[in-house]
Symmetry: C2
Subunit: 372 residues, 2 copies
């Protein structure tokens, strides 16, 4: 009988890590469905009618055909939309998929990457997955500390620095001029990754990285998973210098973005009126969530995203208890991992009905944790 072949050294050294446990898995473990899904910062609105019509047509007409391997039409539309040339854009299976490719393109085993302590776990997962070493810098006043990130990159000779603006999980933001300074302050062989998953929700004009902004050591990341409401379809893009973008073609899964995803994303980007209405709906829900927090004597942090991070006013053990009580009342939410961010819980901007439920459940959860 043959043996079980061993893994290669890097995968052999990895833990069986999963960046996130999904709500469906939690439902199976709980044995009960959630009544509101407010933990993954998904949009709670249906996609644009233009998108659903396109998908319905493509389901019949095109599901049998492989995707268009260059994402040509979508890249053309993204280029116009974001103020770039097509050769400055690569489309991939969400920002998650693109981050994996970026780590593989730029980091050899043992190389360093810098991120904020408590920032996006999937970036950290990819760094570990390719044998990289992660350097973390604390948040400063619930914001990413770009000067400290740059300093750490210089101290460690890092190849990558990852930031998100607006930030997840805190909902905060940094000024665009500080992103520019970061690009100038990192070592000459270091690439800055600017994750703009939530950028459509920016509230402060100073925070917006303008269309067509270019630095040779900067990659911008955009997604259809948030404001466009297409998280289930896995489409994102990276924007940067053509020589860097060309590198993705050496390693990417050329037929990896589904044909329906390509069609849906193209329809989504063309429906600007829908995007405008989504942004307004999300802003209103964000205000209401903040009001609900304040009514319960909690502190909503300022947010430029489709979620509100709520300071529970005490330590991590307390916030985790509040989270458990909310989950037990069938609302799926999440919270930041490390201290001091873990004094907070994070709730996505739900529909009116979902926020009614939050407003009902939150006082109960706080009452249930009053003894702590």
């Amino acid at each position: 009988m043959p043996d079980l072949p061993p893994f290669a050294p890097i995968p052999a050294s990895l833990p069986a890590t999963v960046p996130f446990v999904g709500p469906e898995q939690m439902e199976r473990e709980r044995g009960r469905a959630f009544a509101a899904r407010l933990g993954a910062n998904e949009l709670t609105l249906e996609p644009s009618p233009l998108v659903t019509e396109t998908l319905q047509q493509a389901a019949t007409d095109e599901a049998r055909w492989y995707p268009e391997s260059t994402n040509h039409d979508l890249i053309d539309a993204l280029a116009s939309h974001f103020g770039y040339h097509p050769e400055e854009i690569v489309v991939g299976e969400g920002i998650d998929g693109l981050l994996g490719l970026v780590v593989r393109l730029f980091m050899a085993p043992g190389d360093r990457a810098v991120t904020s302590l408590g920032a996006y776990p999937t970036f950290n997962y990819h760094v570990a997955g390719f044998g990289g070493v992660l350097e973390t810098v604390p948040y400063n006043n619930d914001r990413e500390d770009l000067a400290a990130l740059a300093a750490r990159a210089r101290d460690t000779g890092a190849r990558l620095v990852y930031i998100s603006n607006p930030d997840n999980p805190m909902g905060s933001w940094v000024a665009h001029r500080d992103v520019e300074k970061l690009c100038d302050a990192v070592p000459s062989d270091c690439l800055v990754l600017l994750d703009e998953a939530y950028a459509e929700f920016h509230t402060d004009p100073e925070a917006i990285t303008p269309p067509g902004f270019r630095r040779p050591n900067l990659l911008r990341f955009r997604t259809f998973s948030k404001a466009y409401g297409l998280a289930g379809l896995r489409v994102g893009c990276a924007i940067g210098h053509p020589n860097l973008i060309a590198g993705f073609d050496r390693i990417r899964n050329h037929f990896g973005v589904t044909r329906l995803s390509q069609r849906a994303a193209l329809a989504a980007i063309r429906d600007e009126a829908y995007l405008t209405s989504v942004i307004a709906t999300v802003a209103a829900a964000r205000e209401r969530l903040a009001d609900i927090a304040r009514e319960n004597n909690l502190t909503p942090l300022p947010s430029a995203t489709n979620f509100v991070t709520i300071d529970c006013g005490r330590d991590g053990d307390y916030a985790r208890a509040v989270l458990r009580e909310i989950l037990a009342r069938d609302i799926f939410i999440r919270m930041p991992g490390p201290a001091p961010l873990d004094r907070c819980i994070r709730i996505s901007t739900g529909s009116d009905a979902e926020l009614d439920l939050v407003s009902e459940v939150l006082p109960e959860a706080l009452k249930a944790t009053a003894h702590i």
Copy 2:
């Protein structure tokens, strides 16, 4: 001004290879659309009505939600369907995506992988992409030579051996007992990859690897891209020992298979009547394609797939000329790359209308190449 950060050593060494040029890109370069799309072995039938209804519903109801990260329901259905336990199955973004993960899991830079000369380019692409070294063995009489592949694996200490059964691009097949022998004959740390993308079309019962067949050093790959007609949705699975399957969770993109793909694949696997009718339709089209070849004094190779590989009876230059003439007449087809396979062209089993066109165009193409 910052510099352009360099790639890591392995990606820096890679060419800007693309495993396949897609038909849409060829259409852009030609400046004219194809009238028939018979080059990628896609199904020319619409998916099962159960699938399209499911997709149409999911487009409205679920596009905004991230995919279920464990592919739980689909894996359960696949486990029943193929005779395995759920922990023996991992779902990924088509076999293409899974092959990338397998190479990453098992090959360190400089490790060897063995394949047949002229077999699946995407496997070769992934091997090169992770710094592996490819060893190729010639086909024997248009079939993969499993004994020679095993011998080469032993001679080179290979970590992976890749075969497909039925085979692409030749349409041929090997006996299941020879697959068993291959598993027994490779080195103890070598994994056998059995790509069964076309397995639903098997014509010889002896060639079928039975449900529930297990070897600790074997991974089977199945897909929804061929007989299920869902190439555009990118869903496939790998089946093997639970310890190997668990390894994928260390490195895969956990939310990478789209939610619509999960729904569509689950609906597809439940519609057995549709699959039966597809297999009959494809068998009839295969016969007709073979007849068309014979009517033109060409030799159709026996096929257990949804394509027919046609021996043009002369050398590679001649077959490439025939291919060019067929492309020029607006039928998208492909052909094998290296000699002696390149004496053939490969045509997917099209619809009646598409095969009418083949029957019209093939004699013209042969006439146009008569001077060679």
